[in-house]
Each structure stands twice: as C-alpha cells, then as structure tokens.
Amino acid sequence: MRAWLISSQEKSEPEISLEELPVEITESLSRATQALPSPANHREAVQNALSQALETWQKDDEAENSLVVLGSPAEDVTRVLDEVLKANQIPSEMSVRRLPAARVTDSETIATKLAVVAENASELTPDKQELVVVPSLSRYFLRCIGGLEGIVYLRDRIAQQRSRFWLIGCNRWAWQYLDYVGQIQAYFEQTVSIPALGGGEIKEWLQSLRNETGLDFTEKMPEAERAYFERLAESSLGVAEVAARLWLRSLSYQPDNKHIVPEKVSFPNFRDLSASDRYLLYSLLLHGPINLPNLATSLGETESEIHPPLRRLRQVGLIEGNSSSLQVNPLHYPRLRSELKQNNFLVPGEN
C-alpha cells in the first residue's frame, strides 16, 4: 500500500525526458561519495560510548578496559574509529597507538606478529594513559587451523594489561563467528553498534556531497523526497555505503537543463548463486577485504579451485577489487545477506 502510494506520488510528478547519468558525472559522484566523512550520528555514537567507557575505566580498577565498535560488513568501521580519534576528543593526557589495519596474513605467525606490534610501544604506563586502537578485528584472524591465534593473543593480552584501554573495531559477522568459536563476548562485554541510518539522516549525509560537487540536482516535492529517502534507508538496511551506492544508481540525467534527477531506488539483477558461490561470498563478508591466497585458505581450497567462481562473481559485479584485495560489492549486500540467511548461513540479526 505504502509502495503504491509512493509510486503514485512519483507518477504524479510532471514527465521529463531522462537519460542515464554521463560517465564522467558518475565517476565524479562516486569519488565524492567515497571521500565523504562517515555520517555524524555514527561518529557521535562511538564518541559517546568511548568517552563514557574511558571515564569509567579511569575511575574504577574493575571496569572494562575495552570497547568494541560493531558495524555491518558493508560499512567501514575503521574509518569511523579514525575520524573519532582525529576529532581530538580523547583526553589530552592519553597517548593513542593504532595497530596496523592491514591483514596479518600468515596464519602460523599471527600471534607472534601481533606480539611484536603490541609490545614494541612505550613501556606500559601504570597510570592508565594509553589507548590502543585495533582498527578491524576481522583482519587479525583467518578461518583455518591456527588462524585464530591472533584473537586468542589479543584476548589474553587485553585481559592481562588493564592499564591500557583497547578500542576495537569489528564487523558483526566476524564478531558472531568469533563468539561461537571462542566465546569472545565473555571477554569483551562492552560493545557499541554503529546505528542504522534513517531516511532523514541519509538525506542530511548526502546533502553535503550535493553542495560540494556543484552539480545541479532537481529537487523533488517534499513528500516525494521524504518517501524517496525512506525507501533508500529501508533498501540499504541503514548502511551508509550501501545507501550511497543505491543513491548513485538511482540518479538520472536531464540533458535539457543538465540537471540530475533522483529516480526509483532499485537493486541490480541478482543471478542465481551456487553452493560454492555462497561459501565464497560468506568468507568475503566474514573477513572483509582479503587477498586471493588468504581467501583460498579461509575456504580450505587452492587458489586455482576458487578462480572460476571468483571470476564469475566478479564478472556479474558481486565482487569488486583485484586479487590483492577482494570484497563484496556493497550494492549487493542487502540481498546477499538475505540470500545467505535463507540458506542456513550464520547471519547476525542487525544489518
């Protein structure tokens, strides 16, 4: 009923001749969306939770010395953490140390490598003045025998070193997996979720991009615009990266007056997936951006075995990147999430 109302509202608008967005405009908008800072409410949610957790930890010796920031696999949690830290809202007496965001690749030496990075810092300060940032926990494990050593190392180190505070980013799929295989939530009880965006928040977030690019956008009627962004929020599950891609996809070009018109929000066609495709895509969502050898290890197969499905999925646009960094195209994330859930894969309740 609601969809019908929205579509009838859209239909009631005067008809104009529209074309596909010119390539140069698409590329410019795509670059601009990637350069956008994360939405304000994402930063606020993390900032508030961090300030509160730090304050409690500094006052109480028994308080949790870690905060885990959880986000969708289609979301860049690391970026949110970096932006929060850059905002200079950390107590001035605290020093911040960031562990590398790059994947620790060799499963046999994950723990040793992490030990080198984590311990090379200044001597432990007994007066609680160090904040250690783990940008993405999903990059410190690999789904293979011995591949969880890095997580075990960090888990034990964080429990022992109560004079340091740990800010940890993680995607929800990896968090759920690690909880099943290592009861990680029992060790890191303090978590904060990056909130899902509503229609108004997406509109506000994309507004700055519209101002910065200097392109002319045709304004919709207020009610139609509200409905458009509500639908964008619903389709994207409130995930910023997905919303930005869907928004870009919905844009059309009006050659007469060179205006850009937001049209219908729609997903690209989704081909039928085989069982091997699903295993591969689940692995990518679990680990985040990953290179080919590591992906093969996570699937328990050789690189040559995963080449054909990988090639197919890249051709249809489900996977993007090259062999040194492969990831699921965020545009497909909502439907892929639903597909994997329907096929008995472990998928967390939130986006």
Partner: protein
Amino acid sequence: MFNVTFHHWWIDIVYFSQVSQTGKRIQQLLEQITAAKLTKAAFVLILASVGMKASERIVNQVSERIPQRYRLRVKQSLPVWRAIILVIASVTLLNLFVDFSSNSVFALTGSAAVAVGFAFKDYASSVIAGIVALFEAPYRVGDRIDIDGQYGEVVDYGFRGIRIKTLQDEIVTIPHNKLWTHTVANANNGRLEAQVVTDFYLAHGVDIQRVIDILTQAAYTSKYSQVSLPVVVSVEEKPWGTAFQLKSYVMDVREETSYKTDLIKRAKQAFYQAGFTYPGLPVQE
C-alpha cells in the same frame, strides 16, 4: 433320523440361495461395467499417473530452486500430494463400478480382503507401514538415514517403499515394512544440519591436548561447519594406538562427504606439521 434329514434339507436351501444371490450380484456388477465406464476408468488412471509424475517433478524442481532452509519442507510434502492423488483416483474408480449399499460393501470387502490378504500380504504390510511412517515420521524426504545397513539420503517416498541415494550414488529401494523389523537411524531428522562423526587414529605418543585443539579448530574453521552447534572430540585408547572421534555439524546434510573430506584433509596437514605419527596396523588375532 427325521431331525437329521430336516437339517440337511435346510442347509441345502440356504447354500443354494446364497450361491444364487452371489451369482446375481456378480452378474449385476458385470452388467454395470460398460464401455463408457471403462474409458472413464482408463482416463482416471492416466490422469492419476500423470498427476503423480507431475507432483514429483514440481516438488523436486521447486525444492531445488527455493532457499535451502525450505528445501526439506517442500520435499517432505511429496508423499502427501501422492496420497491425495491416490485417494481421489481410488474413490473415483470405486464410484464408477461399485454400488456403495451395505450389501455390496460386505460382499466386496469379504472376498477382497481374503484375496488381498493372501496374494499381497507383504505389499499391504508395506503400504500400511508407509501410512504409519507418514504420521510417525521415522524418515522423510531429504533425511539421511541408515536402515538395514543402507545409508543415504531419502530421495523418494513411494506408496510401497522409499528410495535412498547412497554415498556411492546408488539408488536403493527399501520397502516401508522394514519399519516393523529394523531400526532406523536418522542423521538429521528433518533438519538441514546433521552431525558428522569423523574418526582419526594416531600413535600412543602424540600430545593428546594438541590433537584435540587441532581437531576442534578443524571443525570450527571448515566452511561447511554449522558453528552454532557443538563440536566434541572424544578419545579412546586402543592396543595399537589412540583413536579420536570428532563430532561436529555440517551446515547442509548434502555436503556431508565434502565436509568429512575437508576435515580430514586439513587435520592431517596440521598433524603433519606438528610431526605426529600414525599407529601401525592392529595385530590380527
């Protein structure tokens, strides 16, 4: 003497009257069988046969296209569709030829029961067991079962028996009446996940805790594993070595063989890297 003679005379009258009545009934029945009815009956039989085939094809096609979560539910509806078609066809046929007055029913059931009882004893037993199995559900389409030494996935639920696809890709037909005399082991009982038991054998001298860690990790890191279900490793000492049993769940029962292969492959690679040795052959008595 008089009494005896009277008795024989009375029995003879009853006997001849019954024979003549049965004869009349048979004659009446035969008179009712007309060419038009036979044509209708043939049409009903053809329709039922086509319906059975179509239901099988539709159910199989639909179940393979929809999300796996619903695959087994759709497959399990096949026996019900078949039963509905059979009941409709049987009632239609009986309506064509049989007058359902109480006399006819008694006459028919009496003679039919004896005939069926002797000629199709095992068949009837299988059919009845099949109906019982529909309600008790010891196996359903899509389940992995072990019955009478045959292990595999139930791919078809027929009137007389089931067909299972073994791990060697053989199709084995098993009559339902095995239910009366054999135990049925069901690995997944209508669920998509199934427990898979994988055996490993190592020499006495290995570090048992390390082996348990490797096996647990092998299960938790397999792409086929349903990690939300428990993983258990049990150990047993044998005269020739130490036996380990890994019990874990595969996400989709159809991947059982691939899952087991994956577990063995990765666990043995880890054993090799850890320098574990294998036991010698057990001593033959």
